[in-house]
């Protein structure tokens, strides 16, 4: 044995001493001192999501269209719940006890630790009452959300609506979590990333009595919500409202564009709905009603309807022929009126007739000859057709025009292959496809494409991609102006003047003058009557004004409007007048306005 062996006791004693010191200290901390238990109860951490206010939406003149209102959701964290007076809570929330029990069970199933929504969008009265009583319901708390509110009941299709995200959207973008809102249609959808802002989170300390004890760690772990960016649209709210007034009780669509910028001034599909219906607790109920409505108010006809261009398309055939030099402004064709072959004319008029007259009289034989001259310029019909198609496409037809338009259809300008399949290769020619000469047949357009086509004519040969949003403003008030491309048409500027003169003659000299002529404004337009096998024909009208230095280009479709000059022309001309002069004064125009407002074309038994 070595002489230091006894020191093992000293070392053992040191070990034991420290252990005893620790145990004594722990006894005082854990058993004697109750203050730590008090601290701990204040230490229940509650993360509260800071939902940013969604960006505001303005019209082109700074008029507020969409803003937010506060809404309150009641949430629960199941593991913090202790027995409470369910009857009283149910009476505050105005729900059945079974429903509350069901929701609580659902919340527990989702997560014991994470909060779930029990009741969405409490009314302000419920919220006030609940705030006072909340201390009686540990585990329950109220979270503030924002809901959309619409300043005017207009432009529902343009704005679109906001709804809760679904699972596939959550899977696709990790930003979202259950219960978040997302733009579903319209510019709410197209500009979702701009509008949504960025969520933040605050951590609060809450005691066992559900009382807020202030911010956790002085808010150092919190992140603030970043406001969404505001949008300034190109819509003219006054014009839009006027359009909706004129179009009430009618099916159809109206699109107006500022030709030089491509900015959409008015964007209407009828019948529409009040955007306020798709907000809040009633949203899903109202949505079902709108979805089942036979008038299909949720369908955005302005970008998805499949209309024929009708006679309005004659302007395009004229321009193509002029560019191809298969006709000149002086070229005349013979018309025998209603008996003319292969396409008859609607009425008798002077003959032979030149370009301006042909447009003015909407002479079908004139445009059959024009169309045949284009196709016939080439040895093979399909080469001529393909050339023609190329021209037509350069007016923005047969293609989608933008990314802002959710659900936009591209219309249809058939490829020659389509006719090859239908008739057999080389077994068709201009005569076979002659209905294209007068805008009937396979050509399908949307009202937006038609308005854009008028812009090309108004601009004498180009368009700017049509759009609804002009600029994005961030929370620091930096304005980011959006850029849009200019697209040049294959028809050169000098070819447009005679066609435009013909369009002016339509408004000034034909019967259309009774419905569309406005004293003091040089309006150039073209009517169209679209055959409809299901009822009265559709009324269409395209126009721009003033003739020189155009400010507005418009396309209007009124379903079952019988003929072009009957409804579409007066509505479009009233809108032009309103937009350019701000008021309708002449007695005959006031009368026309009244007539349009009162007209109801939704009645299935209306006369043809």
């Amino acid at each position: 044995m070595d002489k230091y062996a006894k020191r093992k006791y000293i070392l053992g004693a040191i070990f034991a001493l420290i252990a005893i010191v620790f145990i004594v200290r722990l006894f005082s901390l854990q058993v004697l001192d109750s203050s730590y238990k008090k601290y701990a109860t204040r230490n229940v951490l509650r993360p509260v999501i800071n939902y940013p206010a969604r960006g505001l939406i303005y019209d082109r003149n700074g008029e507020l269209l969409v803003y937010n209102k506060a809404a309150y959701d009641l949430l629960v964290t199941p593991r913090e719940v202790s027995p409470f007076d369910t009857t009283q809570l149910c009476s505050i929330l105005k729900i059945e006890k079974e429903e509350l029990v069901k929701e609580l069970k659902k919340a527990r199933k989702y997560s014991r630790y994470k909060p779930s929504v029990i009741v969405k969008q409490l009314s302000p009265e419920m919220y006030a009452m609940l705030q006072e009583k909340l201390y009686k319901y540990p585990g329950f708390f109220v979270q503030t959300r924002t809901l959309r509110e619409y300043a005017h009941p207009i432009a529902a299709h343009m704005l679109g609506y906001v709804g809760e995200v679904n699972q596939s959207q959550i899977d696709k973008d990790s930003y979202y979590s259950q219960g978040d809102y997302i733009g579903i249609t319209g510019i709410e959808r197209a500009y979702e990333k701009e509008l949504r802002g960025h969520k933040g989170v605050s951590y609060f300390l809450v005691d066992v009595h559900n009382r807020l004890k202030g911010a956790y760690n002085e808010g150092k772990n919190d992140s603030a919500a970043v406001l969404g960016n505001n949008l300034t649209t190109t819509i003219d709210a006054k014009l839009q409202a006027y359009c909706e007034l004129l179009m009430q009780n009618k099916r159809g669509a109206v699109v107006a564009i500022e030709p030089t910028t491509g900015e959409i001034l008015c964007y209407y599909s009828g019948p529409d709905y009040d955007a306020n219906l798709l907000v809040g607790r009633e949203r899903s109920k109202n949505y079902q009603i709108l979805l089942n409505d036979t008038l299909k108010p949720l369908t955005n006809r302005a970008i998805s309807a499949a209309y024929s261009p009708g006679s309005t398309f004659k302007t395009i055939n004229a321009l193509i022929a002029l560019e191809e030099e298969t006709i000149s402004p002086q070229t005349t064709f013979v018309c025998h009126g209603p008996g003319t072959k292969p396409i008859s004319c609607t009425h008798h008029h002077e003959s032979p007739i030149s370009l301006i007259g042909g447009i003015r009289e909407s002479c079908n034989p004139y445009f059959w000859n024009t169309f045949r001259s284009i196709i016939g310029k080439y040895p093979k019909a399909e080469d001529g057709y393909n050339k023609w198609r190329e021209y037509v496409m350069s007016f923005g037809l047969g293609q989608k025009l933008g990314t802002e338009f959710y659900g936009e259809s591209s219309g249809n300008i058939p490829q020659s292959a389509y006719y090859d399949r239908f008739y057999g290769a080389h077994h068709w020619n201009a005569l076979t496809v002659r209905s294209l000469a007068i805008g009937q047949g396979e050509v399908i357009v949307t009202p937006l494409q038609m308005a854009n086509m008028v812009s090309v004519i108004a601009n004498r040969g180009y368009y700017i991609d049509p759009h609804i949003v002009r600029s994005v403003t961030d929370p620091d008030n930096n304005v980011h102006k959006l850029e849009f491309d200019r697209k040049d048409c294959l028809v050169h500027a000098d070819k447009f003047e005679k066609v435009i003169e013909g369009m002016q003659a339509v408004v000034d000299q034909t019967n259309t003058r009774y419905t569309a002529h406005v004293e003091g404004i040089e309006i150039c337009g073209k009517t169209g009557t679209i055959q409809n096998s299901h009822g009265a024909d559709h009324s269409a009208f395209i126009a721009f004004a003033p003739k020189d230095n155009p400010k507005i280009a418009i396309a209007a479709y009124v379903e079952n409007g019988v003929w072009g000059a009957r409804y579409a022309a007066p509505i479009a001309s009233l809108m032009i007048e309103k937009y350019l002069t701000d008021t309708i004064t002449a007695p005959n125009r006031k009368a026309k306005e009244k007539e349009m407002i009162e007209a109801n074309l939704l009645n299935p038994n209306q006369k043809k």
């Binding site: 070595d2 002489k3 230091y4 062996a5 020191r7 093992k8 000293i10 070392l11 053992g12 040191i14 070990f15 034991a16 420290i18 252990a19 010191v21 620790f22 145990i23 200290r25 722990l26 006894f27 901390l29 854990q30 058993v31 001192d33 203050s35 730590y36 238990k37 601290y39 701990a40 109860t41 230490n43 229940v44 951490l45 997560s111 014991r112 630790y113 994470k114 760690n217 002085e218």
Partner: protein, 475 residues
């Protein structure tokens, strides 16, 4: 050499049982500390508790392998292992990667390795080897110097890596050396220095020096109980100080009071030195020496504290001593940790029912602060059980060390016990506010493969030595 069966039978299964129990308790507390619902299976490998299970299985396998290695290997290779470790410590300084400000990790693919962990084992082996050699005599200055070198080289290298926590662990080897005959006076002086350091930080230097002076006189009274001499000492000290102080005040010399104290203390000591030499009182001379050393330390504390320690180290010491309180800064961890443990009460809140160790109130809750989870969910009963399990293991290790027949095995055994003790004392001490926050893990408990493996190796090398203790007579 004994047969394999013999080795397994000779293993100390009590220690192994305690080891397995502690590892298991650590694992379920890691599970509770990082529990989240989405991954509620304790076997979920994407989570820390799942990974810890892999570390545990690997540690058990490692233990098995260590038992199969011949015990003579450690004796023969003690110095080579030590030298390789020192080379690794140098290498990590040059090519290591930095984690949390400490440049102490080798990153090889997804695997991280900390040479400082191995250096405890290597140093323990080297120390055991050296103290068991024939020419080792603890009284000889050469032996002390050599031991000093064995310890200082790794400590210095680890300090350079900025890993203060691991470096401080080496202080515990002084306890091992104490068992081997190191003078108790040296330990006592170390303790004295620590006390003076703390006193100076808390109190004014004047008060500290007064306390030291009075203590010196009292100690001297016990050595040489002559009442008059003690009175003389007080009288001389006081009159020298008063003379200086009055001169300073009356002549408005504006000399710092601290300097006056220092000069007075030195002068008084000189007078007593002369007296002691004349009277041949060597004990008095020793008291004066220690006294003067402590006075110098008092004056150097401020300098060391403000110039040598890093700001975060200063802040942790200040927090511990209650000099400055910053419950949301440095003190935040300790404060939250105390709340977590304190709120556990007598019986705790129950498994997985802790609120403080979830939600990230307590930082590093699965590594350095794992003891909080024990405190919160298992209460005083749980914390006491864990401390007693550790104490049981430590006492058992002392018992095993004492029954060794070779100095090598005994020194190594004490090294294991003392290293575990130091980790336990500092880690648990810091969670309950009795030790500064030094980031060292709780053995067998804390999350992490590196620390679990190094403690496993440390322990099982000793258990292997113990199993073949009868063969070790030649050492």
């Amino acid at each position: 050499m004994a047969s394999r069966n013999n080795i397994w039978a000779n293993l100390d299964w009590l220690t192994i049982g305690l080891y397995v129990l502690l590892v298991f308790l650590g694992w379920i507390n890691i599970y509770a500390a990082v529990f989240n619902e989405e991954h509620s299976s304790i076997l979920d490998m994407s989570q820390r508790y799942g990974k810890q299970l892999i570390w545990i299985i690997a540690a058990f396998a490692l233990a098995g392998v260590l038992i199969l290695i011949d015990s003579k290997f450690y004796v023969s290779f003690a110095f080579p292992i030590y030298i390789v470790t020192i080379l690794m410590l140098v290498a990590v300084l040059l090519i290591g990667s930095e984690v949390k400000g400490a440049k102490s990790w080798f990153q090889i693919g997804g695997f991280a390795f900390q040479p400082a962990e191995v250096s405890k084992l290597a140093t323990a082996l080297a120390l055991a080897k050296f103290t068991s050699s024939y020419n080792f005599k603890i009284e000889r200055i050469q032996s002390i110097m050599a031991i000093g070198a064995i310890l200082v080289i790794p400590v210095a290298l680890i300090f350079l890596q900025n890993d203060t926590g691991s470096a401080l662990v080496f202080a515990v080897f002084s306890l091992v050396l104490y068992r081997e005959g190191l003078s108790g006076v040296i330990l006592f002086l170390g303790l004295l220095i620590a006390i003076v350091f703390i006193l100076t930080l808390i109190l004014h230097p004047l008060i500290t020096i007064s306390i030291i002076t009075v203590s010196a006189i009292v100690v001297y009274y016990f050595i040489n109980p002559k009442f008059v001499l003690s009175l003389k000492a007080i009288g001389i000290s006081a009159s020298i100080f008063m003379t200086f102080w009055l001169t300073n005040t009356l002549l408005r010399l504006n000399i710092d009071t601290n300097k006056i104290i220092l000069i007075s203390a030195i002068l008084a000591s000189c007078i007593f030195c002369v007296y002691a030499l004349r009277q041949r009182l060597s004990q008095l001379l020793l008291v004066i020496g220690v006294y003067l050393a402590l006075v110098f330390i008092t004056f150097s504390v401020d300098y060391v504290f403000n110039n040598i320690l890093e700001p975060h180290q200063r802040a942790r010491i200040e927090e511990l001593l209650g000099i400055k309180s910053d419950p949301l800064g440095v003190g935040y961890n300790v404060n939250q940790s105390k709340i977590a443990i304190g709120s556990g009460g007598l019986y705790g809140k129950g498994f997985l029912n802790g609120t403080q160790t979830k939600f990230n109130f307590v930082p590093e809750q699965s590594t350095d602060f794992i003891f909080c989870t024990v405190g919160e969910e298992w209460g005083f009963v749980g914390t006491t059980t864990v401390i007693l399990l550790f104490l049981g293991m430590l006492i058992r290790l002392i018992f095993l060390a004492e029954r060794q027949r070779s100095v090598f095995s005994r020194v190594y055994g004490y090294s294991v016990a003392c290293i575990l003790f130091f980790h336990l004392a500092i880690n648990v001490g810091m969670t309950i506010g009795l030790a500064p926050v030094i980031g060292i893990p709780l053995p067998f408990f804390s999350y992490g493969g590196s620390s679990l493996w190094s403690f496993t190796i440390l322990l099982f090398v000793f258990l292997r030595l113990d199993a073949s203790r009868t063969e070790m007579l030649s050492y």
